[in-house]
């Protein structure tokens, strides 16, 4: 994106939310461990591979979340079905008591 047209830089400082910190912690655990199933270059590729409309719409850590899920599925760490089932399970849990 270097060199593309864009408007003024929005300098408002917005603190990371708790779940952003968790995504960061998990991603860094993976990319700093050479034996883990995801390296930082795969994470970057997964972010670039997002559909452009999603890339623009999503927040920074949302992109990480999507990329990490895509790479780990690709690597066979879990299947898309497992991921979908776990998301449904957690969503139900959040509806009952809220995220922990």
């Amino acid at each position: 994106m270097g060199g593309l047209d864009a408007g003024p830089v929005d300098r408002e400082e917005v603190a990371d939310e708790p779940w952003h910190k968790r995504v960061k912690a998990v991603v860094q655990l993976l990319v700093r461990n050479p034996d883990s199933p995801m390296n930082v270059d795969e994470l970057r590729r997964g972010i670039e591979d997002l559909p452009p409309a999603d890339y623009d719409r999503l927040g920074y850590y949302e992109r990480w979340s999507r990329s990490m899920a895509a790479i780990l599925t690709e690597k066979g760490v879990f299947s898309e079905a497992e991921l979908g089932a776990k998301m449904a399970e957690i969503e139900q849990c959040w509806e009952r008591g809220g995220p922990t």
């Binding site: 270097g2 060199g3 390296n39 270059d41 795969e42 970057r44 590729r45 670039e48 690709e74």
Partner: protein
Amino acid sequence: MNRYRNGDTVVVRAHFPPGHARAPYYTRGHAGEVVRITGPFPNAEERAYGRDGDREPLYRVRFRQRDLWPNYPGSARDTLVVDIYEHWLEPGSRQ
């Protein structure tokens, strides 16, 4: 061993492969000067697809901003430095 040395003029390949590429678009086809040699690092474009990646030198290449952008609005002194893997570089001469 390293193909280039500090002070060499290099040109970033004007190549637009599909997939994950590490040389920024705006540098491709432009000449710059090697200012620091680092690495070797595993080729990140290979690692991005889960392969190990051959280790290769990573060059810090300095460009004159006026060479990169037509109508660059700043000073003629202004420069930009990018880290570029060896396989993206060709020997070059400055205009």
